[in-house]
C-alpha cells in the first residue's frame, strides 16, 4: 500500500476519503480462498449469481477477483457439483 505523509490540516482532502485507492481493495480481509476444480464445473453460473461481493467474473468458466473476494465460501456452499473448495489462508503465529 502507498504510504502517504501529511504535515498539516491543509494537506488533507476536505472530506474523509481515502487518499489512495488501495483502500478500496478489501480482499486482504480474507482468511480462506476459493480453489476451483474446472473438471467438475458444469458452467451453471450459480456461483456468479450468489457471490455477495459480485467478485466472480463469468466467462466460459468463473474467475475470482481476489482484490475483493472475502472468502465467505457462499460460492463453494452453493455449487451443485462441489467444483469450488475453500482453502484456509489463516496464518498461525
Amino acid at each position: 500500500m502507498t504510504e502517504v505523509k501529511f504535515k498539516t490540516a491543509h494537506d488533507l482532502p476536505p472530506c474523509s476519503i481515502s487518499v489512495t485507492n488501495e483502500l478500496t481493495k478489501t480482499g486482504n480481509w480474507r482468511n480462506a480462498k476459493p480453489v476451483f476444480h474446472k473438471e467438475k464445473c458444469i458452467q451453471c453460473g450459480i456461483c456468479w449469481k450468489v457471490c455477495p461481493n459480485a467478485c466472480i467474473i463469468l466467462g466460459e468458466y468463473p474467475e475470482w477477483n481476489m482484490d475483493y473476494c472475502k472468502g465467505c465460501g457462499v460460492c463453494a456452499e452453493e455449487c451443485p457439483k462441489d467444483a469450488i473448495e475453500m482453502e484456509d489462508e489463516r496464518v498461525m503465529i
Binding site: F6, T8, A9, H10, L12, P13, P14, C15, S16, I17, S18, V19, T20, N21, L23, T24
Partner: protein, 384 residues
C-alpha cells in the same frame, strides 16, 4: 423575460430547486412541507426538470440518498419539517462531515408533543451544531432567491445548507414571486463540479475510519469552511444583487441608520416587525430592525458593528433552549460579550407553536423592554 407567478412559499422552494437544476431529489412528505416535493415530483414526471426523483421510506433515508447523490457529483435537494428533520439528525452530521453540499428547505414547524403543525424555530435551531449553513427567509420571493444563493455558497465551500421558512405564514401563503430568465440563473449558478466524487475509474473509500491523529484536523477544516462561507455568503449576495437586482444581506438592517434601539428577529415575523418599526418611528421612537438571515455561520461582525452604535438591543426568539434562554438571544450575547462598549440586550420568547405575532405584540415587547428587569427570561403573551 422574467416571469411573475403568484405562488405559496412551498412552491417558491420547488420552483427555486427547478431553476437551480437540481439533479437528484429524495424526499419524504410531512406537513407543512408536502407541497414542496409534490410539485417537484410533478416537474420530474412531466420532464420539466431533468432530475431523478427518489421515493424513500423516511427522512433519514431521504438525506442518505441525497448524500449518495452528492458524493457521486450530483446537485442534490430535499425538503422537510420538524419531526422529519429530527429523524434526519444523524445524516445531517454525515452530510456536513463528509462535505457534501446538499441543499434542503426546512419548513419551521413546532416539535411535538403536543402535536402542532404551526411554526416555530426549535426544529431547525436544534440542528445548529450539525455543520449545516442556515438561512432564514422572510418572504416567498426570498425563498425562491435564497435557493440560488444557498446552492452557490454551499458548493463553493463544500458544506450543506438549509433554507428555512415559516410554516403557513410563508409555506401556504400566496405571494407574487418573480422568476428571472433561466439563462441568467445558469450564469449565476454553474453546474456542480466537486473536487472529489465517486468515480468508477478512480475508486476511493468515502467516509472511512480516521484515527485521533487526523480527526481534529478534518474538524478544523469544517470550521475554516464555515468562516469562508460567511465571506462567500456576503460576496454571493452582492453578485446576486448585481445580477437580479434584489438584496437581502446576511443581516438585513431596516431603519437602523440613526436608531438608538434595535429589534432583532429572524424569519417572517420580521415583516410584521418592520410595520411596527414604522408605527413607532411615527410616534417618535428612534427604533430599527435587524433581521438575522444567516444563522450559521453566525454574522458576528455585522452584529458587533450594529451593537457599537445603539443603546439597546431587543431580541425576539420564536424558540427556546430549555433550561437557558432564547437561542438567538444567547448567540447575540455571546457575540458581544468581549466587546468594550456593548448595549444591554433584552430577550423575549414569543410566538411558539405558531401563536400569531401581530404589530401590537412587537410594539408591546418594545414597551415592556423599557421597564423590565434585564435578568428575567421574558415570555411574551404567555397566560400566567
Amino acid at each position: 423575460m422574467s416571469t411573475v407567478k403568484v405562488i405559496t412559499g412551498n412552491h417558491a422552494a420547488s420552483f427555486g430547486a427547478r431553476d437551480c437544476r437540481a439533479e437528484v431529489i429524495a424526499a419524504y412528505p410531512i406537513t407543512p412541507q408536502t407541497q414542496v416535493v409534490e410539485l417537484l415530483s410533478e416537474f420530474c414526471a412531466d420532464g420539466v426538470l431533468k432530475a431523478k426523483f427518489i421515493k424513500v421510506e423516511s427522512e433519514h433515508s431521504a438525506m442518505a440518498a441525497c448524500i449518495g447523490a452528492s458524493a457521486a457529483g450530483a446537485r442534490a435537494y430535499t425538503a422537510t419539517s420538524a419531526h422529519g428533520l429530527a429523524l434526519m439528525h444523524e445524516m445531517l452530521h454525515w452530510a456536513a462531515n463528509a462535505r457534501h453540499p446538499v441543499v434542503m428547505a426546512n419548513i419551521n414547524r413546532a416539535m411535538g408533543p403536543p402535536w402542532s403543525i404551526w411554526t416555530d424555530q426549535n426544529d431547525s435551531l436544534a440542528q445548529r451544531d450539525t455543520g449545516w449553513l442556515q438561512f432564514y427567509c422572510e418572504s416567498n420571493q426570498e425563498v425562491y432567491d435564497t435557493t440560488m444563493i444557498v446552492f452557490k455558497v454551499c458548493e463553493q465551500v463544500l458544506l450543506p445548507g438549509m433554507l428555512v421558512l415559516d410554516a403557513y405564514i410563508l409555506s401556504h401563503t400566496y405571494e407574487p414571486v418573480e422568476m428571472p430568465d433561466q439563462e441568467l440563473i445558469d450564469e449565476f449558478l454553474p453546474p456542480f463540479d466537486p473536487p472529489y466524487r465517486m468515480d468508477l475509474d478512480d475508486p476511493h473509500a468515502f467516509g472511512a475510519l480516521c484515527t485521533p491523529e487526523w480527526y481534529m484536523e478534518l474538524r478544523y477544516l469544517i470550521q475554516e469552511a464555515h468562516e469562508k462561507a460567511l465571506v462567500t455568503a456576503r460576496e454571493v449576495e452582492k453578485e446576486f444583487t448585481k445580477t437580479f437586482g434584489r438584496s437581502y444581506g446576511v443581516v438585513e438592517f431596516y431603519r437602523c441608520e440613526d436608531a438608538e434601539e434595535v429589534i432583532m428577529i429572524a424569519g417572517s415575523t420580521a415583516s410584521t416587525a418592520k410595520d411596527a418599526v414604522d408605527i413607532m418611528r411615527k410616534q417618535g421612537r428612534k427604533i430599527g430592525l435587524a433581521r438575522i438571515k444567516l444563522f450559521r455561520p453566525f454574522p458576528n461582525e455585522e452584529i458587533r458593528e450594529l451593537a457599537s452604535k445603539v443603546n439597546k438591543l431587543i431580541v425576539i426568539d420564536r424558540n427556546i433552549s430549555f433550561g437557558n434562554q432564547g437561542i438567538f438571544f444567547n448567540e447575540i450575547k455571546a457575540c458581544l460579550c468581549n466587546e468594550k462598549n456593548r448595549p444591554p440586550v433584552y430577550g423575549f420568547i414569543a410566538g411558539l407553536g405558531g401563536r400569531d405575532m401581530k404589530i401590537e405584540d412587537i410594539t408591546g415587547i418594545v414597551e415592556q423592554a423599557d421597564t423590565c428587569d434585564i435578568e428575567e427570561i421574558l415570555w411574551w403573551g404567555v397566560k400566567l
